[in-house]
Subunit: 261 residues, 2 copies
Amino acid sequence: MFDVPNADGTVGKAMQVLDQVASFGCPVRFSELLSDSPFPKPTLYRFLQTLTNQGMLAFDPERQTYSMGIRLVRLAHSAWRHSSLVPIARPHIESLAAKVGEAVHLAQFDNGHVLFVDKYKATDMFETLAQAGKIAPGYCTGVGKAILAFMTEAQQNHALDQQSYTAYTPATLSDRAALLAELAWIRENGVAYDREEHEQGIISIASPILTSKGRVVGAVSIATSTNRYKISDLKKQKPHLVKCANLIGTEAELWQVPTWS
Amino acid sequence: MFDVPNADGTVGKAMQVLDQVASFGCPVRFSELLSDSPFPKPTLYRFLQTLTNQGMLAFDPERQTYSMGIRLVRLAHSAWRHSSLVPIARPHIESLAAKVGEAVHLAQFDNGHVLFVDKYKATDMFETLAQAGKIAPGYCTGVGKAILAFMTEAQQNHALDQQSYTAYTPATLSDRAALLAELAWIRENGVAYDREEHEQGIISIASPILTSKGRVVGAVSIATSTNRYKISDLKKQKPHLVKCANLIGTEAELWQVPTWS
DNA sequence: AAATTGGTTTCAAATAGTGAAACTTAGTTT
DNA sequence: AAACTAAGTTTCACTATTTGAAACCAATTT
């Protein structure tokens, strides 16, 4: 007998509210949230109060709007430094970027989405901060497909249910069957290609990062523009990319936390 | 009649658990958390489960440890971009840094602590990411004192209660009375100085960022080392610093959210 | 002055959280 | 190998918290 999906009690609902505010991507008024909320007025109201009290949301009394709270920045700092692959992967990412001279991305999976946790572009260092934390869909990015292909069946099913299959470009795999076929191919081949499936003119090659027990923990990719390279050029980078991913994978396992200032 | 401080119900407790995990700063086992937790075993256990389910924590099944979850990175990205002063302040911070040739910091207040949300050092851009999200005490940093001095009395009292008054250096103002006197001076003077109160050899001048209604929303500082400059040199930068803070303050007010990529 | 909209508070009913104790592994020790 | 121990998980009756319909309180608008 099934009970409703997975509400995770009061805390789960509060996190749902957090996500909702985040999804607006800008300061938002109570009534705007209410009109798009599964919760009744007083319930939503109390959640907003509690979360604001807690610093997870910020309330602008002049404008009467809610936005994401500053406490999240502190907590995420911790996440970024200790839980993500960033500290381990950094040096490998950098040297790969130096070697191939193209943008290298590091991504992890979060609730059906690909979350970019680091980005290294040989030419400019500036975008990094703005990029870390960005999300992209799983089904139509190199890193996304690389991760999906190596999930356990249960994880994969769950994740595939969460995809929207929007056709961003003519090349997008826009249904589950097409994606499943592609994933099978990726699993055999070891790496995934993004053939302008998410953005016109952008292609990439991505490799999953696996622990020795075969658990996927993320993916690395080399991304470039069709102006400069073709998929066949990216294929040549496969050995470098895979080596980099393997290094990160094995190190992630041995990892003992550093006291990294 | 007082009831217990401010627990904010179940959600508040869950956030307390989140903070506790963050405070370890490294992957941590259930028993380590338990031995330092106000909650009984099953209660803590359930919170950890829920938070992990929600992606606010990450559980490493191989090592059986908890660390901060990747979902926080996504949420904080939103916070950093939309709720913090960063997007408004960036250009002003950069030009100030270029003008004075020293490190410029942008900070906001979070639960008694100073939280650095951006840092610009003319010479290297690299530290920025590692620095954003870092925290420091309020009572012994330039930015901290600048913010404290301009809070409402209620906010200030609350914040002063949260300070530890640890004497990091001989110059630290290590009790509430001394700090209060200093804050009065700062309020008159408009800017705060850090005379090696937090770290030996590091001094700074900091200005609060105020809205037109006089609400403090953060602070900017110019920080340098005693090897290069003295407090009297920093005093000369006061007009530049204050101008920068004012620009940020007025813009923060007019701010209409951008659809910033 | 009446009506509407946006935000806040009340309060009894219902639900979800609590934690002592019991249980299950996995790892030691005798 | 049996007996002990420590770490993690589950149960279940008890209780505290959450819930949301309805009422209330500004501000605006008509």
